[in-house]
């Protein structure tokens, strides 16, 4: 009996000793991680989980309003063609699909081409070009949109007039016409975002060993062949990051269409029949509307959007892993 107790005590003290050793070895690492974990938990994880829970409740901002569990009712409402809110949210998802399908490949193509060209320069010119293309990214969204609204103003805007002379959008109010609105949104988004992706890609290009280029030059490869057979394959991990980043950014688009369509939290959001509405705009509209249960519906919309982002990102990761295995 006494023997067992002694063993237990020994076991406990061994456990304590092991714990102390672990803490001594890894404690500072965990301490270093602590601020991030706390920030992440408080400002990202907790609101996300709380939002998910509240998407199952009839919840409004009213002080005395009762909060009641409604199951999947909010999801049914926002995904049903039969309700005004559902119709609007589904329209916004359709608008988003078109935008994402167009903007992500265009962004990737332009950013890659510009990076390849800039990478041909060295020294000051290289730095100048990188800085020049990155500049629009520094401009706040509303400011960039304001400038483009000026440029694209029908009949008088510099770019709108030039395009009209080429037979594109003559007499068209770009910000109020479906189709043209999407084009304008894509132009502004590309103008702003390409610089950021270009910086990532040029940084990635710097990490490609020079030996590969030297060897290929000796073998008689042209610059174009080097791009296709060395640069782009070697950039694959960076390109993957850029694609994922573009997708997530595009799906969350909000500021530019909000300003372009003159949306208002107390007025019309996304223009006539929501032609210029995107999911995050609908969520904001629901939050501000103050109607009974609308916060619950906004949470449901947010969760649907999060699922879409999650699914697309997961698909990209699975595709990449499969490709890596094949290789």
């Amino acid at each position: 009996m006494a023997n067992t107790a002694a063993k237990r005590v020994t076991g406990q003290s061994r456990g304590k000793t092991r714990g102390r050793a672990f803490w001594r070895k890894y404690g500072k690492h965990y301490l270093g991680l602590a601020p991030f974990v706390v920030f992440f938990g408080v400002f990202i994880l907790w609101p996300m989980l709380y939002g998910l829970v509240m998407s199952f409740f009839d919840w409004s901002t009213r002080t005395n309003a009762e909060i009641s569990f409604v199951g999947f009712e909010n999801f049914k409402t926002v995904l049903s063609e039969g309700t005004q809110q559902g119709k609007r949210f589904l329209t916004s998802l359709k608008n988003l699909s078109l935008f994402v399908v167009l903007v992500v490949p265009l962004n990737l193509i332009f950013a890659t081409v510009i990076s390849l060209v800039i990478n041909q320069f060295r020294g000051r010119m290289h730095n100048f070009l990188r800085g020049a293309f990155f500049m629009p990214y520094v401009a706040p969204f509303f400011l960039a949109t304001g400038v483009w609204l000026w440029l694209m103003s029908a009949d008088t805007g510099l770019v709108a007039v030039l395009l009209a002379k080429m037979g594109i959008g003559e007499g068209v109010t770009w910000r109020l016409t479906p189709g043209y609105f999407t084009a304008l949104l894509i132009i502004i988004d590309l103008w702003r975002a390409i610089g950021f992706n270009m910086i990532i890609l040029t940084a990635g290009m710097k990490n490609i060993p020079n030996d590969l280029y030297e060897a290929s030059t000796i073998d008689g490869a042209s610059t174009f062949q080097q791009w296709i057979h060395i640069t782009i394959p070697m950039l694959e991990p960076v390109l993957f990051f850029v694609v994922v980043n573009c997708f997530i950014g595009a799906i969350q688009t909000y500021d530019i269409p909000w300003v372009l369509s003159n949306s208002s939290a107390v007025g019309v959001i996304g223009g006539k029949n929501a032609f210029a509405s995107y999911p995050v705009m609908e969520i904001v509209g629901n939050v501000y509307s103050g109607k009974a249960g609308n916060l619950g519906r906004a949470c449901a919309e947010g969760f649907v959007l999060m699922l879409i982002i999650f699914a697309i990102t997961l698909l990209q990761i699975v595709y990449r892993n499969c490709k890596n295995k094949d290789n």
Binding site: L31, P35, F39, S60, Q84, D155, T156, V266, G271
Partner: protein, 441 residues
């Protein structure tokens, strides 16, 4: 080096912890609470109350800021229990979201009437009825009766706040262009049909008539409001506006669309075209006027005015809607603090203070005595009397404290569709609008 790294890590952790504490430290209680922030030493005894007030951003800069600060100084001088009054500028959406989020709220705030329902349902707003009842008759009689009715009717016996300012749509006219087109600018068009005749004359002479207004429901509705049968109200959970009352305005929109330029009234192009004698009319709020005044100072040939949008029938209400702003107090559960905040709002909404605001800012105010005196003063801004005339003879943009949205927002899809020609059946569009108002409000 190792020691330095340790010190640096420690400093970083401390800074982050302090940041976190600061983020959470402002709120005095959990979400949904409406207890205002109570800074240390703000309990009245000894140091006095430190009051805060949320205002629209443009009221915390320039002339408006000077006026508010002067009022605060005057009030503090008369009330030793108040130590300071701090004004915090916020966009209206941030004021609304701030109330919805709860946490640290101000003692006093300004907000539009149309957001009234949202605000009083989101936080514990102080019932000002006892203060109002105890106020001198002269003060009570001066406050705009319609606005007070809105503030007091839901529920009966509650006074959510005090009315402050108002705004409305205006029809800006370029007099040089109109005279070149043979339009007699000395007379205002009596009806919207007469206005349409002027549109036709302008178009025939090759000028731009009107910018595209369909970027805003509020501005487009300026062609719809002027019907004597259009009654803005809310009964049994439904709007009192009828499809029949919207239909004539909707018929008119079908015609107006053909006079629309491609640029919108929000574009700089519209202002440039108007100030360079290429555009005859534009519809906007009083906020456009400072830009036009600046242009007129630079170019003496540029002549313009602003008039009310005419009614659909001669002698009927102007085809415009007004919106207004009110001031309220968040219930701090501290009688002394509530008294100090309510007292300040009553002080600034009194006739003398309102006259100053009206004159200096050129904004219509919801104090009739102040408004009448300033609007009739030949030295006051000319736009003020026009705005006053319109506000007193047009419909409200909302049913404050009963319904959350502008009725015009429910009409947006139909109005825009009729303007751009994608809809042609005005009757069906009007019925759709009523259904939309009832469903969304």
């Amino acid at each position: 080096m190792k020691k330095m790294k340790r010190i640096l890590s420690l400093v970083l952790v401390l800074v982050m912890a302090a940041g976190l504490a600061a983020c959470g430290g402002g709120g005095t209680s959990g979400a949904g609470s409406s207890t205002p922030a109570e800074p240390a030493g703000s309990q009245g005894s000894g140091e006095g109350y430190e009051l805060t007030m949320w205002l629209f951003q443009d009221w915390t800069v320039g002339t408006a800021a000077e006026i508010f600060n002067t009022w605060a100084d005057e009030y503090i001088a008369q009330h030793p229990e108040v130590k300071s009054i701090t004004f915090v500028g916020k966009p209206d959406t941030e004021i609304v979201s701030g109330f919805m989020a709860g946490g640290s709220l101000p003692d006093m705030f300004a907000i539009q009437f149309l957001n009234g329902k949202r605000i009083v349902e989101s936080a514990n707003i102080l019932n000002l009825q006892p203060y109002y009842d105890a106020a001198p008759e002269e003060y009570k009689n001066a406050l705009n009766a319609d606005a007070m009715k809105d503030l007091m009717t839901n529920p009966e016996g509650t006074c959510w706040g005090l009315p402050f300012t108002a705004n409305c749509q205006l029809l800006y006219r370029n007099l040089t262009v109109l005279e070149a087109c043979g339009v007699d600018t000395s007379k205002r068009p009596k009806t919207l049909d007469e206005l349409l005749e002027q549109f036709a004359a302008v178009q025939e002479n090759g000028y731009d008539v009107l910018p595209n207004l369909t970027a805003s429901d509020w501005v487009t509705s300026a062609f719809v409001c002027g019907n004597p049968d259009l009654k803005v109200g809310w009964e049994n959970g439904e709007t009192t506006i009828t499809a029949e009352a919207l239909e004539p305005g909707y018929e008119l929109l079908k015609e107006v669309g053909q006079y629309s330029a491609a640029y919108t009234f929000l574009d700089q192009a519209a202002t440039d075209a108007f100030t360079s004698d290429k555009l005859a009319f534009t519809v906007h709020g009083p906020f456009l006027n400072p830009n036009l005044e600046a242009a007129a100072q630079e170019n003496s040939n540029f002549k313009y005015d602003a008039i009310p949008m005419p009614s659909q029938v001669a002698g009927g209400p102007y085809s415009a809607s007004y919106g207004n702003e009110w001031l309220g107090v968040v219930d701090s559960k501290d009688q002394g603090r509530n008294d100090a905040a309510a007292g300040f709002l009553m002080y600034i909404t009194d006739t003398e203070q309102m006259k100053t605001f009206c004159r200096e800012m050129g904004r219509p105010v919801m104090n009739n005595d102040a408004m009448d005196e300033i609007a009739n003063d030949p030295e006051s801004p000319w736009l003020l009397s026009v705005c006053n005339e319109i506000v007193n003879n047009c419909v409200n943009q909302a049913v404050p404290f009963r319904c959350d949205m502008m009725w015009e927002t429910g009409c947006a899809d139909s109005m825009f569709g009729l303007w751009d020609g994608s809809l042609t059946d005005a009757k069906a569009a009007a019925e759709d609008s009523i259904a939309m108002i009832n469903e969304n409000a």
